[in-house]
């Protein structure tokens, strides 16, 4: 043992006036019908004035529960012990009156889902004014004036009018701005932000992180940023705390944790994120297995079942959080083998089995010589926008998909990316409908959907299958897994004996046991369910699989396993994928080609490495720039393109180029050159070589990574 066995140095920080919040040995237990669940098991940390502490962990790690405990906002049946001191004053056990005096005034909170976090029946301005009036004698009018100022500070346009609007009249990003305005209203010393950007699109996420920075500058507050996204904390946090199974497993400066992680879980987590800035085939290290159930933890380190480095002692005693002697004096790690890891400077690929995606046979043939699996030309889908119930009348058209073209060759993965509302899902449903489109053509495996008969359509559905986003909603909870997998086979008339055999093979194929066929979906974790979803899609041996955000509902460590599985299956079964996602890092990792959508149009497309390394359309540049890299040094050096405002309504798209209202390039153009953007829709033109297209009048490459 070379690690110094002492209590973390910040334990005796009580005397330090710089310490705003000091949490010591926090335990939170919820009594449930099936026994007690201890969600937080002895958590200690401190936050100093003006500092940003990132708390990172997967769902169920106790990161949100611990901060709600500090705020005194847990349900009354929660049993809390330990201590949480705000500037030396104990917060736990305060009565409602005393705690309410601190909440919102000294410690403010920003929540994850801005849609449900604002009361629907009061105006945004009133809700901010309320926060002010609770804690001071400020008059009604002064509070209203101040709330308009606050809305202005967080970047709401026309704050005076918008203050009178109700939450449902705000977009997601604007609501989160309003939440931040509310949080900083009383100039708090500490802001706890619980997954503040998780529910938002990347470009909006970048805006909100900027606003949080502004808010911090305006108030000088310390921030506790709770997130599962390591990219978000990389550029934002000064220090990190990694949580696993209700405990801190590693803490230190952001650089220490990212570059010198000493706990296998931290390393695994970092190794399982696909990198936006890594071209070619980057190996992902999935952390196999699932987080433990907190209802009955066995003795020892809770990470043992998932840890390739586990030795005997690991399942006997739980390792304490110890200082790493060779790095900074605030770097602590809870692992029996931390000093070994430090000595040999092990990385995630040393510890976890790294899987490099294999190359498929099809890929050896040049793209042009491979058969086309799906060809979409000028596809259009417009929805009528109607008003009234009794007398419906059309008041406009939602141009959800407005003339898009792309093709997928055999053995290829096309990533279709864009923000919510850009038309990705509409495109998918149009393709899977396999009927004559409103305009344009869809050719599936050489057959035009416009001329298909019902019989053709039934037959061709075997070859085109889909995997859905939400593994919880997409499996019938009342059907055993075996029946779920057998259903497509039954529909297409496969005899029973063969079906049973097929189901067993499918389960094995996706890494589950054949015995699992008798179980029900609720007995599986999210990652396992998504594997079942994939198995169902593969039951009919399709040639093209449509993947609709297949990993976005999964935790990071689980995500990597599913991505690796998809890559392996593609090669083994010679599949082609249409991969729809908003996560560009995942797309870079898995896709061969990418098409970027904005308001129903494809603005840029081409081979994935070309589009990501030499993005030519300003929207692609902004989108890539908005994604935080899980790399603190790189992240801090990047200059970020922050897009203005929200996605315009597809019912009333801007004239000419649809992106011009938010375009950073347009903003810098002179009047004469702007005219072209205002009047003409830019055609898709080749950039560099013929395979890379961008639809911008003034396309030029900008390096944003």
């Amino acid at each position: 043992m070379t690690a110094v066995r002492n209590e973390p140095a910040f334990r005796d920080a009580t005397a330090d006036p710089e310490v705003v919040l000091e949490v010591t040995d926090l335990h939170v237990t919820f009594p449930t019908d099936s026994g007690d669940v201890t969600a937080v098991r002895g958590l200690s940390y401190d936050v100093r004035a003006g500092e940003v502490l990132g708390i990172v962990g997967e769902s169920g790690s106790g990161k949100s529960v611990s901060s709600l405990a500090v705020m005194g906002l847990l349900p009354r049946n929660a049993r809390i012990s330990g201590s949480a001191r705000y500037r030396g004053r104990e917060l736990l056990g305060l009565d409602d009156r005393a705690a309410s005096g601190i909440r919102g005034k000294e410690i403010a909170m920003v929540f994850q889902d801005p849609l449900s976090a604002l009361t629907p029946v009061y105006t945004v301005g009133d809700q901010i004014a309320e926060a002010l009036r609770i804690h001071s004698d400020i008059g009604k009018e002064a509070a209203a004036r101040r709330s308009v100022e606050l809305l202005d500070l967080v970047g709401i346009p026309n704050p005076k009018q918008r203050a009178l609007a109700f939450p449902h009249e705000f977009s997601g990003g604007m609501r989160q701005r309003a939440m931040i305005a509310m949080a900083i209203a009383n100039d708090p010393d500490l802001i706890i932000a619980d997954e503040p950007t998780t529910a938002l699109d990347v470009t909006i996420q970048a805006q909100i992180l900027e606003v949080l920075k502004t808010a911090q500058q305006a108030t000088g507050a310390a921030i506790v940023l709770i997130t599962h996204d390591l990219g978000v904390v990389a550029g934002f946090a000064d220090r990190l705390l990694v949580m696993y199974a209700g405990k801190a497993v590693e803490t230190g400066s952001t650089e220490e944790v990212f570059y010198q992680g000493r706990m296998p879980y931290t390393l695994g987590l970092l190794g399982s994120i696909p990198r936006l800035d890594a071209g070619g085939r980057q190996p992902l290290t999935p952390v196999e297995g699932n987080p433990p159930s907190l209802a009955s933890l066995p003795p020892g380190c809770p990470f043992v079942p998932r840890c390739p480095m586990a030795i005997d002692i690991c399942s006997q005693t739980e390792p304490p959080l110890l200082r790493m002697p060779n790095s900074g004096d605030r770097h602590f790690s809870a692992c029996h083998r931390s000093d070994e890891i430090e000595r040999s400077n092990l990385t995630s690929t040393d510890i976890f089995p790294a899987v490099v995606a294999p190359e498929s046979v099809a890929e050896r043939t040049p793209r042009e010589q491979r058969p086309t699996v799906l060809e979409v030309t000028d596809l259009v889908k417009h929805y009528p926008l109607t008003k009234g119930h009794v007398f419906r009348r059309r008041i406009g058209t939602v141009k959800a998909v407005d003339g898009i073209s792309f093709d997928i060759r055999e053995g290829e993965t096309l990533g279709l990316v864009g923000e919510s509302g850009c038309g990705k899902t509409t495109t998918l449903t149009e393709l899977l409908r396999m009927a004559r489109p409103q305009d344009g053509t869809v050719v599936v495996l050489g057959k035009d959907t416009a001329t298909m008969s019902g019989r053709d359509r039934f037959a061709i559905r075997r070859d085109v299958q889909i995997v859905f986003q939400d593994p919880f909603a997409s499996l019938d909870p009342r059907m055993p897994v075996g029946d779920i997998l057998a259903e497509p086979l039954l529909t297409h008339g496969v005899p029973e004996a063969e079906r049973r055999q097929e189901v067993r093979a499918l389960l094995k194929l996706v890494g589950l046991a054949p015995e699992h066929a008798d179980r029900y979906p609720h007995e599986f974790s999210g990652g396992q369910r998504q594997r079942i979803g994939i198995a169902r899609a593969l039951a009919l041996k399709p040639r093209l699989v449509v993947l609709d955000e297949p990993v976005s509902a999964l935790d990071v460590s689980i995500q990597a396993g599913v991505i690796n599985l998809l890559e392996r299956l593609k090669v083994e079964l010679g599949l082609s994928y249409l991969f729809v996602a908003h996560d560009l890092s995942v797309v870079r990792h898995i896709a061969d080609r990418v098409a970027v959508m904005y308001l129903g149009k494809i603005v840029e497309s081409g081979p994935v490495d070309r589009v990501f390394d030499a993005p030519s359309h300003p929207y692609t540049q902004a989108l890539l720039s908005a994604i935080p890299l899980p790399d603190p040094i790189k992240e801090r050096q990047r200059r970020r393109i922050i897009l203005e405002g929200d996605l315009p309504s597809p019912a009333d798209p801007p004239s000419g180029c649809r992106f011009r209202t938010r375009c950073q390039l347009f903003a810098g153009l002179d009047e004469g050159r702007r005219q072209k953007c205002l009047e003409q829709h830019p055609p898709s033109l080749p950039q560099g070589d013929g395979d890379h297209l961008a639809a911008c009048h003034y396309a030029r490459v900008v390096d944003v990574l």
């Binding site: 919102g104 403010a108 629907p120 609770i134 007398f391």
Partner: protein, 328 residues
């Protein structure tokens, strides 16, 4: 907005005509006004019965549609609903009974709604505690007792209560004592003494009913993020629960309130019957018993209007409470 209201009003008018016509025709085909005379001793001469019924526009010998036409004509031209089978003007009956029902039901309905909401919200906030269990148990006891049993059961303690004082404090029959009425101080006291027990019987049922629904809507809100936000701002538990929680949890209750409140006018049949108040509900039941087609038609007409008013009230209340449904 005006156009919307006008369109809606036109819709309503059509619905009222249809509902009333169906109601009248149903009454005309099932009720037999002759029965009154057939059982008379001595039985009046046939011609005289026929003549009397024709005068009342209730002669089964006339085609039903003709009778409906005549009845409707009276309403449209002179606002005249015709005569009851006892040859009294229906309009007068209407004018009197509406107010009787209103006086009987207004306080009980308001009391039941307010207390029901309070009890339901309290129950939700204390979910699974003994107070919640007690409230739940008592509500189900009340809900499972038929209204007429509850009303009769309440009479007994009222009599006992009077026994304690040795004089009649609470009355359980009628609206006021014989020869009473009017609105002098003493008369008002007398009215209140008559009102307590029926109001209680009415309110109890409503409290039990509303508290169940309010508990459910409140529970939905209790777990909501915006309530947590309100507390994170620094609102105390109670303040947050009332200002942000209850206000939002009341929205889905509006439909119940409007319909229950308005339809009380014709729906409190048992309460009126048992406590001897001569209101609309009693009239409806008596009219059927007496084969009084015109009166039944009039009550159906009245109910149709009430249903539509309730619908409109519910919509208005919704829009007032919930900005999300306001038309823009």
């Amino acid at each position: 907005m005006l156009g919307f209201l006008l369109r809606r009003f036109a819709n309503y008018l059509v619905l009222i005509v249809i509902a009333t016509s169906f109601g009248y025709l149903l009454a005309a085909s099932t009720l037999n006004p002759r029965a009154k005379y057939d059982t008379m001793q001595p039985r009046p001469p046939e011609a005289s019965i026929s003549q009397t019924l024709s005068n009342l526009n209730m002669n089964p010998a006339d085609p039903k549609l003709d009778r409906l036409g005549r009845w409707a004509k009276g309403i449209v031209t002179g606002g005249d609903f015709g005569k009851t089978i006892d040859n009294k003007p229906i309009n007068e009956e209407f004018g009197r009974r509406i107010w009787v029902s209103l006086r009987l039901l207004l306080i009980g309905t308001i009391l039941g709604s307010v207390v029901g909401v309070a009890v339901g919200a309290y129950s939700a906030i204390n979910q699974y505690r003994w107070s919640d269990h007690t409230i739940t148990f008592l509500s189900f006891v009340v809900i499972s007792i038929p209204v007429f049993v509850l009303a009769v059961a309440l009479k007994q303690p009222a009599i006992g209560f009077n026994g304690l004082f040795g004089t009649d404090v609470l009355f359980i029959q009628g609206e006021y004592q014989a020869g009473g009425g009017g609105w002098s101080g003493a008369a008002i006291l007398d009215r209140i003494q008559h009102l307590v027990v029926p109001t209680l019987s009415l309110a109890l049922g409503l409290v039990a009913f509303y508290s169940r629904y309010q508990r459910a809507t409140m529970l939905d809100v209790l777990g909501s993020d915006f309530l947590r936000t309100a507390r994170a701002k620094g609102l105390r538990r109670r303040q947050a629960l009332v200002k942000h929680g209850l206000r939002t949890a009341l929205i889905p209750m509006m439909t119940f309130f409007s319909y229950q409140f308005v339809l009380m006018f014709v729906g409190a049949i048992f309460t009126e019957k048992i406590f001897g108040w001569h209101g609309m509900g009693e009239w409806f039941i008596d009219a059927i018993g007496k084969n009084d087609i015109n009166s039944v038609g009039a009550v159906v007409f009245f109910s149709a209007i009430l249903v539509l008013i309730a619908g409109m009230l519910a919509d208005l209340a919704y829009a007032a409470l919930d900005p999300r449904v306001r038309a823009n």
